[in-house]
């Protein structure tokens, strides 16, 4: 059988996605039989030069994980797009921005300032006594190129064309079963699923979670997970914990809600058809907050209740970069590059 060429490339990654592949254990055996690995820095010592030397579209499938945080990530993304037939955004970061996208309300300068100068542990006695900054010269006369920290942290689609999406932080083995199906189908029949296919569930997480729900879900007091010991059988929303399940795509099998008794944070991205899970979930949570005692609480009481939800951006957009940020940030970048 002809082997297909596979690359695993990464942007701003934490390593979790790599681990999710290694953790496949025996599932890797059939995969190994049909693929030829051309790039995966975590697994072996591949060099970018090797990739550059390849023909265009020589790589059959490229799994790209991690968001575009620096100029280098963008370069890597473009390189692999050029060399690959199929580009797969692997993991929540490359699909939607992931955890690193939480920095999106701030630009690069603010981030650098808060890390190297304004951080709460940074003073004369602390670890960065001299308020050092990353430099492009490390010794007199010895210059080196450091990638530029971009003003944004965006999903892979903001840079290159993406064929498929495998969401998850990190993706789970069941998604790999689907992926293996896709790969074997490709090898045997040369067939591929339609572009844009999301390799995960086809509905929202609630359908998969199966925690017991009361007749109505009303939250009269919002709680953060550490505040209570949630009943493992009952819907977390009904216990006052903000769970992103209703707006999040299924496919994880309820890893957090069932497996860890913790609320869904939305790593599988929007449920099918949902454009902006953050705002939709915000609307849902606001609607059920004190839903049966609205008149009693009155406008002031309701306002107070809503204000007990901390950090709306971090709560509702933990993994997902809203479209309006992507658009705006891209426009800024274009403007800047046109200035130069």
């Amino acid at each position: 059988m002809k082997k297909i060429k596979l690359a695993v490339a990464a942007g701003s990654f934490c390593g979790g996605c790599d681990m999710s592949i290694i953790n496949l254990n025996e599932m890797l055996i059939p995969i190994e039989e049909v693929i030829e690995l051309v790039f995966w820095q975590v697994a072996a010592d591949f060099k970018f030069e090797d990739v550059e030397a390849l023909q265009d579209k020589e790589i059959d499938i490229c799994l790209y994980h991690g968001p575009i945080r620096t100029s280098e990530h963008a370069e890597i993304a473009h390189l692999f797009r050029k060399k690959s037939k199929v580009m797969i955004a692997y993991g929540s970061c490359s699909c939607f921005g992931g955890i690193p996208q939480l920095a999106n309300p701030y630009d690069a300068q603010t981030i650098l300032d808060s890390v190297y100068t304004n951080g709460y542990n940074i003073d004369e006695s602390g670890p960065n006594q001299n308020y050092m900054r990353p430099k492009s010269e490390y010794k007199k006369g010895r210059a080196m190129t450091l990638p530029k920290l971009l003003d944004s942290c965006l999903p892979l689609t903001s840079e290159v064309d993406v064929n498929y999406f495998v969401p998850g932080c990190p993706p789970v083995p069941t998604q790999w079963e689907m992926l293996v199906d896709i790969i074997t189908n490709f090898i045997k029949k040369g067939e591929l699923p339609p572009k844009g296919t999301v390799v995960a569930g086809e509905t929202a997480l609630c359908e998969e979670c199966g925690r017991e729900k009361p007749e109505e879900i009303v939250i009269n007091r919002f709680r953060r997970p550490f505040e209570i010991d949630p009943d493992p059988e009952k819907c977390l929303l009904s216990q006052g914990i903000i769970c992103m399940g209703p707006a999040t795509r299924a496919g994880c099998g309820g890893q957090c809600t069932l497996g860890a008794n913790m609320p869904c944070r939305g790593c599988f991205g929007p449920a099918p058809g949902v454009k902006d899970p953050g705002l939709k979930m915000l609307s849902a949570i606001a609607s059920i907050g004190g839903a049966k005692i609205e008149a009693e609480l009155g406008p002031e009481g309701l306002k107070k209740l809503m204000e007990t939800i901390p950090d709306p951006f971090g709560t509702f957009y933990r993994f997902f970069t809203p479209e309006y940020i992507i658009k705006t940030k891209k426009k800024v970048a274009e403007e800047e590059s046109s200035k130069k």
Partner: protein, 664 residues
Amino acid sequence: MSQKKKTREPEEAKRLGVFVCHCGKNIAATVDVENIAKEATNLHGVVHAAESHYLCSEPGQKALQDDIKYHRLDGIICACCSPTLHEETFRKAAADVGINKYEVEIANIREKCSWVHSDKEKATVKAMKIIETKVEKALLNEALTPISVDVNRNAMVVGAGITGIQAALDLANSGYHVYLVEQSPTIGGHMAQLTSTFPTLDCSQCILSPKMSEIAHHDNVELITNAKLTSVTGFVGNFKAQITKKPKFVIEELCNLCDDCVEVCPVIVPNEFEGGLGPRKAIYLPFPQAVPSAYILDIENCLGIHPLVCSKCRDACEQKAINYDMKEEIVELNVGAIVIATGYDLYDISKISEYDFGPEVDVIDGLQFERLLNSAGPTGGAVLRPSDHKKPETVVFVQCVGSRDPEHHMAYCSKICCTYTGKHALLLKDQEPETEVYVFYIDIRAAGRGYEEFIDRAQEMGVIYIRGKPSKIFREGDKTIIWAANTLTGERLEVEADLVVLAPAMIPSFDTKILSGVTKCNLDEYGFFKEAHVKLKPVESLVQGLFVAGTALSPKDIPECVAQGSAAASKAMALLSKPQLYHDPIVAIVNEKACSGCKVCQSLCPYGAISFDSVKNISVVKEILCQGCGTCASACPSLALTLKNQTDKQIENMIRIALKTEAK
């Protein structure tokens, strides 16, 4: 032509027409109508645009209709005045030539544009934008037909006090079949306990019992007593009610009221009808005028219905009317409308720790005093102390017991206590002019025809009114002591009374909360049922087809209860008079595939239009109940709920087009 419309692709092939009205000079003075009509032809989907001097005039409408036919339009946008004025006019005109009325959009360029702006250039740009947004909406509008459902023409009234009786009679006399459900063994409610009614002092039983007997003999009334409403499913026009009937152990039809069974019954318990001041047997007739007119066996106090235990009553009954084998029965009723008239209870005085209460300490409530005054009551109408059956020389009445006390008890005014306490004092003075009678009050609230004069009459007869609320009521020897302050003079008072009569707050009857769960009808902060609108829908509930009347809503007196009973009946009749109900089709729909069963929407609908299908694990919208507000659609996290002709896509397109900057 209408055939063609059903099969066409929604967006691409739609042929829209834009009609811009000059409205004389009203629009044309500030908006360049001519230019707009010209430009509108260039809009996506618009195949024809025209102007009219008065679009709403006969010739204007005629031209509109001709254009619709000539250009084979699928939808139209009328740029004119507010939709509140002529939306129906144009919908009708368009419908006459084959356009679905929900494909007609109004672009309000008069009230929202030409009349509020003076800069012609800006107003024209804005008017164009308004039209563009409506064109975007019209492109995605669906042709809809009004929703219709059949109406079951039977009614059910729950609670057979004076309110329920009135409602049932009004319905029955108008030709509707009524099921009257009462949880106690007899109808009549609290009114049957009263001695006479203020301010005319009509005998309560005398004015009530004709109505009760009318119920008993009415062909259109099916009376179900000793029964509870345990479940309501379905929706307006098509409710399915489940009634649980407790066994009475007496066959009503056979019982001839001979009283033989009572004579042999060995069990004596306090009679609840007499407020516990008199006795009754375990088998009893609630009161002489009871309807249905038959004995009932009180199974909780009976020694046991097994022949080995007692069975004296069964042996004594010559009619063989007593049947120990009766079982609880469940009855299913199909009704189109429901009237709830479950009435009130009195506030539990044991919650007021500073007042001693009970017949043994000669502190009783107003209803018990009614029985003492009643010639059919336990004392034959003579006012005697319950503790030693002596004639009281000093009687103290206390108003606002548990009411008008927001810190500790109920905040509201119980409304009828001032007047009935006046009545009690008056009747007592009438019977025993020598008795010293005191009334403690906070304020006298006697609004109503003849009520204020009635209180005056009591005062003229020598009843002493003291403004102040007793701080403590307690027993000392064979007297009951009242500590109070006269708030008008500032002096401290201590009254030694032989009998104290309290006027406790009226509170919702004991099973109101359960019934609220069964019917999905909301309660207010005190637990009374809540009307749909406090001013304009006083007997409607938010559950369509469910009406509430009488003291189940709030404290009120008999005439108000009767009026509300009739009002609820007439509202129910308006509903039942039509064989079918029609409903606006702008309603929410569920995309079954997208719905994940998260249940976020379940608590949001004030009309109970959203329910849950636990088999399919999805939410379901009952179209007939949906009022089309769209709150659920904007809360649905997985975009499974949409409002017809107000979809996300439509509104998003409207926003986009409204903000589009013109290419210059």
